[in-house]
Symmetry: C2
Subunit: 340 residues, 2 copies
Amino acid sequence: MADASKRPTIVTVAGLAGVSISSASRVLNGHSARPDTISRVRTAAAQVGYVPHMAAQNLKSRRTGQIAFAVENIANPTYVAMVQAIEDVLGPNGYRLVLHSTKADAGSEVEILRDLRRRYVDGLVISPIRVTEAHLREFAQTSAPVVVIGTLPEPANVGTVSVNSAHGVSLAVRHLVEQGCRRIAFLNGPVDSVPGTARLRGYHNGLTAHAPDATGALVQTAADFSVDSGTAAMGQLLARETPDAVICANDLLAIGAMQAVRAHSLSVPDHIAIVGVDDTYLAELVHPALTSVSLHARKRGRLAAELLLERIADPTLPVRSITVEPDLLIRASSRPVSRG
Amino acid sequence: MADASKRPTIVTVAGLAGVSISSASRVLNGHSARPDTISRVRTAAAQVGYVPHMAAQNLKSRRTGQIAFAVENIANPTYVAMVQAIEDVLGPNGYRLVLHSTKADAGSEVEILRDLRRRYVDGLVISPIRVTEAHLREFAQTSAPVVVIGTLPEPANVGTVSVNSAHGVSLAVRHLVEQGCRRIAFLNGPVDSVPGTARLRGYHNGLTAHAPDATGALVQTAADFSVDSGTAAMGQLLARETPDAVICANDLLAIGAMQAVRAHSLSVPDHIAIVGVDDTYLAELVHPALTSVSLHARKRGRLAAELLLERIADPTLPVRSITVEPDLLIRASSRPVSRG
DNA sequence: AAACGTTCGGGAAACGTTTCCAGAACCTTG
DNA sequence: CAAGGTTCTGGAAACGTTTCCCGAACGTTT
């Protein structure tokens, strides 16, 4: 309480140690100095409990030690996985994570990009669900390094970490064909989203490549990528078709679909096999465990963070793009069953 | 690209507008000025795309517009709910969220508390899973407002938002007794954690209050609050007891327990009713849907954020403590079944 | 038209650091 | 011991704002 009066600054320390401010600063930053000076400054600092003021350091050093991650909806386990991976890279490198929720609103994403100019953060990782013209404009003149997790319609001045999700879905098609499925439906999210279009393409590719003799495309679109939308959309699909397998554009939709199947007194996988995409931890939680296409969210998060730090360390470096290959994780929801 | 040379500062703007720096600053902050001056500064600012530099503002204003949330493990849906709620309060108030992962390490929590002195945030919300002496020491001399989500062993100079989780568990006991259960077990998390002890107490209270004629306490402790630990612990419990109901200290443990029950070829709720705690969104995802004690995570997050902002706005305010009452949400995992 | 009150604008200090520069102190070497 | 080179130090500028203070300009009132 004696020191409640005033926060000690480096001036306090320098005065107490009987040295100049510059010497105090040097010692505190570990630069070379006479042993005598070092110990005087150190004890003075300890005595008053000196802690440098971040804002002042930021102003001087022109860096903040913070990076931002802008994400559509932190409730989606895919993004949680990315957050974890990003934090794991950031922490050891002395960076803090600022989290932004965009609620899938392109406007607020652009807002965040624009806000980078205030330099409250040294860089940004963003995973936009749709990429608009406005995004591309801001990417072009961004004032801090940006890494996009996702796919861009055209090259831009940002690093990207993308995944061949189309191929992932086609892996799922092949797997289901091998299980003997002949009426393989696709339960998509919004088609105007980047993941939506890619995954749909993968479905079509997969069908032509692996199931030339199967029933044609059976596509149902959900309102968004949530569980409830999955249930609703699966209900609609079942009202008009009788698929023996459904590939869902993500795990949440798949879980919703499983609930709808159950509500129709059908069984997974006996009547209908279900496959999700993203391989979130939910896939192992539900029963039957969900076969899912892993898009390696953690790995993408890690790579994005690494790409960003690399670029922050040397902004003259050219932007890099990395692509990750998907994998199919087969679980009970699509296991071999007696059929036909 | 013409402006690639140099970031415009307020000096640039003032020069271009032909006014002093102070006038430029005043206009840009919406203070009074002659219409003429206002428009000159505004157009100059727009022309060069001036954006104020946060670090400089922070240094001058002694605030950052950031608050931190320190959380054990962002993968736990309870914390995700809190993050969402906190963000919902912060955003409209112009604050950003800095997320810290502590990995349930008391040391790193204390580290974060200590780091508050660097004033990189204006306040902190923390949800410690254990509260050590070191925590209390740091709370006592914290240099920025802190709100704890959880219960403290003794009053401290921090706001708190707690929940009567013991009562919540005893609600669950009563409910199960009403369902006709007589051998009600409790699957706890680590007993040295704050939630662990409180919930165990609720279990014992509930038994004596609502089930005087039931079998005595059947307690099994899990290594942590995760799904896998739940499966393992439930396996151990089933190896030595035959409960007809199990209350789990959180939803993750409950989901793990359900998997173990299934692995033993038993059915939920026919053979064993299961109840979780936290009422995360997972409760509605699994099958059968999980009965769970809601501890109102979102509400607690919101309240914590509000308490914090209140205290930041006026630090002379005395700290407040709020307690939230739990509710039981009955779902299929504990529905009435034919029994004895 | 003088006296007063109000609004407005500019200079300069301040926020707390880091770093450049030049001079002082030290050590080495011939 | 002088000359040379290192190492160390203190002064001062700089980072980009906001704000205090005071004088200038303006408008009102007698």
